[in-house]
Amino acid sequence: MYKIVCKESLNPTVTKMVIEAPAIAKKAQPGQFIILRVDEEGERIPLTIADYDAAKGTVTIIYQIVGGTTKLLDSKQQGEYISDFVGPLGKPTETEGRKKVAVIGGGVGCAIALPVAKKFHDIGAEVHSVVGFRNKDLVILQNEFEACSDKYIIMSDDGSAGEKGLVTDALKKLIESGEQYDEVIAIGPLIMMKFVCKLTKEYGIKTTVSMNPIMIDGTGMCGGCRLTVGGEVKFACVDGPDFDGHLVDFDEAMERGSMYKDFERHAYEETCNLLNKQVEC
């Protein structure tokens, strides 16, 4: 059992939780993820490690309430426990030798992008962060990003936060204005990553994306997380989650990601009903 030592709502649908998991906290690095089960009957879901503190023995996760499991997770409070928490899984993000990078975060993907941006900042690289949200109510981690970025640009769909437009618009402007990046790191919805890669390919800038397909074990045992990268089959949980964005077959990944859409919608509604019932009685 793993204790929830702190829970904080970042926006109406995104929550931050700090979990007591000393063994994982000791080994965690940016770019890695954990797999959790909320309770004994729960499904296994992967979540990226948003932060970790080896001294305190804690690991921070940030999740968006999108389905039954995240809804259930969100019903747990500070001081309560979750059944299973395993990791750190996947390969850490490579940061060595980069002097100047652009970190692009989309929505809750910012939670994954933040530790990467921090790491680049820590090794002395110049970090330009470009983050995108639908509107100002959904903006998360602004202070944290500002603290580790030399440039911080917010984009929003409706212009209510930062500039109106997409992260790709901002990135394009930066590149056109003469900024030269060793690498662009894009983390967010598949569609965002796809278009960031399309843009950076035109300019020949190395781009790394963090993939989050459906997973079960996270150790290379089921192949459910497989992707096509440069014409080869890769398992995101062990070969990734970071991949060369110019080689990833995003269309296939998007299709595979929709495998259980109906089930998920149903599970979400069921969980909502169940939780509401518990509140009523």
């Binding site: 063994a23 080994k27 089960r37 045992m221």
Partner: protein, 462 residues
């Protein structure tokens, strides 16, 4: 006087039509009368060829003699001298190619039903002996076991009985390895595996689930920082192979590992499960081993109308246990033998809508001595399916190798170990599928036993 019937006693089964739609155990086991009667078929012959056929050399004639007298607990004690998992092995061992293949009664008629009797004896013991063993006095030595499949469980149990402080590290949230995530409930009820784990815990074995060795902690850390004097690697062969044909990443294509894990470990077959599974109408399972049979029969139980086994060789080459093939057929699984998939076809929304295959014929024997399948020209046809499950084999996961310096492996990933299970690293032992590649429960168990005794010798001579 021996029972001279040429046939073995039938074991009661659930009716094929009924069981094809539920996940309850297929075989129901002998009654005490049936068991005694069957055991009396053993002639107790001197040369004990059945024992030679058993990978762990269980004293078969001795245990059968006790069963024949109705002394079941004594029979159990004989079996448990060599086997720590009799209730499991009685159910899943390929007896027809091991002990039973050597039985003299099989020359004229059917061999003695050794497997069914082993199962009976173990079930009798489990039903009548509720006591858990006491924790032996500690000898102060710490051993780490990686993986909780049959190899790891056996190694842990044997060492714990000798007083070692054993900690098992398991990547999944439950212990049992393939016994819980791979082999389905209808063939091996999970309560049996749970009972084995309870026994281990009573012996003082500390089972740490959610520990991926190589990620959460490395072998070097276990030995240098956590004070484990020896390590046994029983991490299995969990990496699924794919065929590399077009369409393998479509929605509706599963590895057998994923399909079976969703069903067995995550209970996706139950309506209240939180883990989704695709309930297909027509399913093709590629492969001919136990894993393929399990996947096919599970698909049927999830409600599929038609389920095919697609296998590139012939009936007699099917590597699955004979009993599983027979059960699969009784349940209505359709065997497309001498057939090889060439392409999976894409339908709406990226879902599978068919599988293109070719027919094969058997040519000259290859290196393995089996006749090599060759493509029949112009024999392409499309199998109408909406789900494809790949059960064409697995290999050892490279995670431990890649995080343990100096641990030698074969090119295909198997950890290199000598006859004691010792690897290229001092005090690091390995056994089971991690060493041999996908094999059997009994071999994994045997390897765990051998390594336990080697570890004991090594640490005691320090």
């Amino acid at each position: 006087m021996a029972n001279m019937s040429l046939k073995k006693n039938e074991m009661p089964h659930q009716d094929p039509k009924v069981r094809a739609r539920n996940f309850n155990e297929v075989a129901l086991g002998y009654t005490p009368e049936q068991a005694v009667d069957e055991a009396q078929r053993c002639l107790g012959c001197k040369n004990r060829s059945c024992v030679a056929g058993c990978p762990v050399k269980i004293d078969i004639p001795e245990f059968l003699a006790f069963v024949a007298k109705g002394e079941f607990e004594e029979a159990y004690n004989i079996i448990s001298r060599q086997s720590s998992l009799p209730a499991v092995c009685g159910r899943v061992c390929p007896q027809e190619s091991q002990c039973e293949s050597k039985c003299v009664r099989g020359i004229k008629g059917e061999p003695v039903a050794i497997g069914r009797l082993e199962r009976f004896v173990a079930d009798y013991h489990n039903a009548n002996c509720k006591e858990l063993p006491a924790k032996p006095e500690s000898n102060g030595h710490k051993v780490a076991v990686i993986g909780s499949g049959p190899a790891g469980l056996t190694c842990a149990g044997d060492l714990a009985k000798k007083g070692y402080d054993v900690t098992v590290f398991e990547a999944f949230h439950v212990a049992g390895g393939v016994l819980v995530y791979g082999i389905p409930e209808f063939r091996l009820p999970k309560a049996i595996v749970a009972k084995e784990i309870e026994t281990l815990k009573a012996l003082g074995v500390d089972i740490r689930t959610n520990y991926v060795v190589g990620r959460t902690i490395s072998i070097d850390e276990l030995m240098k920082e956590e004070g484990f004097e020896a390590v046994f690697i029983g991490s299995g062969a969990g990496l699924p192979k794919f065929m590399g044909i077009e369409g393998e990443n479509l929605k509706g294509v599963y590895s057998a590992n994923e399909f079976l894990t969703r069903i067995n470990l995550m209970k996706a077959y139950r309506d209240d499960s939180k883990t989704p599974i695709y309930r297909a109408k027509k399913v093709a399972v590629c492969g001919g081993g136990n894993v393929a049979m399990d996947a096919a029969r599970s698909a049927l139980r999830l409600g599929a109308e038609e389920v095919y086994i697609v296998y590139r060789r012939g009936e007699s080459e099917l590597p699955a246990r004979a009993e599983e093939v027979e059960h699969a057929k009784e349940e209505g699984i359709i065997f497309k033998l001498l057939t090889n998939p060439t392409r999976i076809l894409k339908g709406e929304n990226g879902m599978v809508c068919g599988m293109e295959c070719v027919e094969m014929t058997l040519g000259e024997p290859d290196a393995s001595g089996r006749r090599r399948p060759v493509v029949k020209e112009g024999s392409e046809f499309v199998l109408d399916v909406d789900c494809v499950i790949m059960a064409i084999g697995t290999s050892p996961n490279p995670l431990i190798k890649s995080t343990t310096e100096g641990l030698d492996t074969e090119r295909w990933g198997g950890i290199i170990a000598d006859e004691d299970g010792l690897t290229s690293r001092e005090n690091v032992y390995a056994g089971g599928d991690a060493v041999t590649g996908a094999a059997t429960v009994i071999l994994a168990m045997g390897a765990g036993k051998t390594a336990a005794s080697a570890i004991d010798k090594k640490l005691m001579n320090k």
